[in-house]
């Protein structure tokens, strides 16, 4: 009971200000930081969708998936294959690709999730099976090179076309950036809104004690499957948008390495906060690019150090720790007043 009441304590006013500032920064960034940095930030936001999806699953129900990059990859490859290989008009193909990418990923999640969750696979066993999913997806991408382009990947994916005054056209880089920022913000806000009410409490109950949740009359397997498919859809949306934005997909966007990186993002950002993993993902990817420009060998060391720091110093995530400090400060100020 105690943990639930804590999560319902309203955030201190200062943290709303912080969130507003972050959003203001994200939206004004392309006007300040230059084209290259804005494109880095844009791609980082798309990758942060995997973290967002994983946090919906791991943070809200306690079920860890080691294969979430698979869904990002399925979304990206689905979009890429549909929009380039079927000979469709690019104005239509790009949108059809987006929809098919997300649908393919959801279908994979539905099939895999159904057999796992209704088969009673829980906890570490679930994690291990999803680990296999990541490995399999990587092999499929490399092995099925006629369709997926193998090690070289697929190039020439059309951008999304939007109706403008002069007919259908791709967005300018800055507007595209704002579009993607809006998609990420809206997805994060919707997930937060969905999980903040009674539904969030049901998921929390399942995390704490699934048998009791069942005894209370909840179909826990169905809830878990819904969350699993939903979280994979979020990751896949990021992947499909990534394919059309960057114009290429390659095997490094599926598989084990990316899947583990996502877990680190969520751990650093704070499991269950939804916005924390998104911010962590963006920062980590940003630093990766910057640090690897200075020295290639430095990055893995830095990443490892960050993860250890996250586990030992900020076990609740950097964001929660910061909010905790802010809350204490706020209380002190109130006492003084």
């Amino acid at each position: 009971m105690g943990r639930i009441s804590i999560s319902h304590t309203p955030l201190p006013k200062m943290s709303y200000l912080v969130i507003l500032l972050v959003i203001a920064f994200v939206y004004s960034a392309p006007l300040i930081v230059g084209t290259y940095s804005a494109s880095l930030l844009r791609d980082a936001m798309l990758f942060s969708m995997i973290a967002l999806g994983l946090d919906y699953l791991w943070g809200k129900t306690g079920t860890l998936s080691f294969g979430h990059a698979t869904f990002f990859g399925a979304g990206a490859y689905g979009a890429a294959i549909v929009s380039t290989k079927l000979g469709l008009d690019p104005t239509l193909g790009s949108w059809l690709g987006l929809i098919s990418g997300v649908s393919i990923a959801m279908l994979i999640a539905l099939v895999v999730g159904y057999f796992l969750i209704f088969g009673g696979v829980r906890g570490s066993y679930f994690t291990i099976v999803t680990l296999a999913l990541a490995v399999i997806s990587e092999h499929v991408i490399v092995g099925w090179s006629d369709i997926t382009g193998g090690d070289a990947g697929l190039l020439g994916i059309p951008p999304l076309f939007f109706p403008t005054l002069s007919g259908l056209a791709p967005l300018s880089p800055v507007v595209l950036y704002w579009f993607i920022a809006s998609v990420v913000c809206l997805t994060a806000l919707s997930l937060w809104w969905v999980c903040s009410g009674r539904y969030g409490l049901i998921l929390k109950t399942i995390e704490d004690n699934e048998e009791r949740a069942q005894a209370l009359g909840h179909n826990t397997s169905q809830h878990l499957l819904t969350v699993f498919v939903g979280s994979s859809a979020v990751a896949a949306l990021g992947g499909a948008l990534y394919a059309s934005t960057v114009g290429f997909v390659a095997k490094d966007i599926v598989g084990l390495i990316l899947s583990t990186q996502v877990i680190i993002w969520v751990a650093i950002g704070g499991r269950g906060t939804l916005i924390g993993p998104v911010i962590a993902a963006i920062f980590v990817i940003w630093f990766e690019q910057r640090i690897s420009s200075i020295n290639v060998q430095l990055w893995p060391l830095f990443m490892g150090f960050l993860f250890i720091l996250a586990v030992f110093v900020f076990p609740n995530g950097v964001l929660r720790t910061l909010v905790g400090i802010l809350r204490k400060l706020g209380q002190r100020l109130e006492h003084r007043v």
Binding site: T35, Y36, S37, V142, L155, F248
Partner: protein, 399 residues
Amino acid sequence: MTSTHQKCIVSRRAMIQGAGAISLTGTSYLAAPSILYAADKIKIGFHSALTGLETLLGETQLNCFKMAVDEINSSGGIDGREIEYLVEDNQTTTRGAIDKTRKFIFEDNVDVIIGMITSLERTAALSVSAPAKQLLIYPTYYEGGECERYLACTGQIPNQSVDPFVPWITENVGKSVYILGSDYGWPQETAKAISTAFEINGGTTVGTEFFPFGVQDLGPAMDRIKASKPDVVWELFAGADALTFLKQYKSFEPGGFLLTNGLDELFTTAVDGANVEGIIVNQSYFSSLKSSANDKFLANYKNRFGQDKWVNAIAEATYIAVYLYSKSVEKAGSTDTEQVIDAMAGISFEAPQGPVSFEGSNNHLAVNSILGRCRNDGLYDIIENFGAITPTVAGCSLT
């Protein structure tokens, strides 16, 4: 008034430069003291496979790149302008190549990009650089077929490697070929050129197979080679996978004379001599070439990077790429990309491999085609030199 004003600008620039230099400690900036000419520097971005599958080749390529830049700078730069360079690692991945190309163009504002090993890096980088109308010089031998104003190639393409090589094979070795390689653009397209050339010369292709990067077990493929009894086995494996192939080919001994246009000193000196002795290779350059230009080039390289080091064709072509760019800027009298590209056509000079000249109609270099037989020490005895061959790209007319 004007002079004090200018002084002010210079000192502010000096301050910014100084601050930049401090904040960029550790990056590969070629720091230069001449602040007055800072705006006049020519900036080259180099990104290549410094980690990942092609690490074996990336380091020597970078060394030759640096050597060419330093040689040009120490002889007064390009028309008195110093070259400054940036180095990035694309990890032999599509994503890395795109990211680093974007960085060079949109953040660092480089004048030209040089580097890359595999075709997948080139295609990925080109998907960013060509729409941005930025010149990219690609030095590695590849499958051919690129017809792009903003891309210049200084390595062999099949009409310079496969086409002169195959008639020599059908005459001296045998008429049936089995082709194996990595599963991506360069081996796939080169295999087609090989099959076509064998057909024209009265030979046949008895098998073609491709394997994903990082392949470990080639045993089943060796059995298939054995069963089809080819006269010649042509391997087209990338990077570290080529070493895996060489070792397994030696231990299985499936028969067939091993030939390729995809091996060089860096591969064959990295494995035991018994694995590679006798292999016949076609390249545009070998360390063992005897000429005053190559003696000087190799001596400089060894003095700087180590007496036991060797240079391969890709690295030498990278060295050429820097000189090609330098000579084009001198000819154009500007670093304006359009003018530089126009100036490239017809440029010719004496490279370590011999005379080379740039073909403006398809933006490829007329490079040499040389056959070497691998010795036990991993170096090559030159057995035939077809000379410089004009590159041809079907249907391409850029000028």
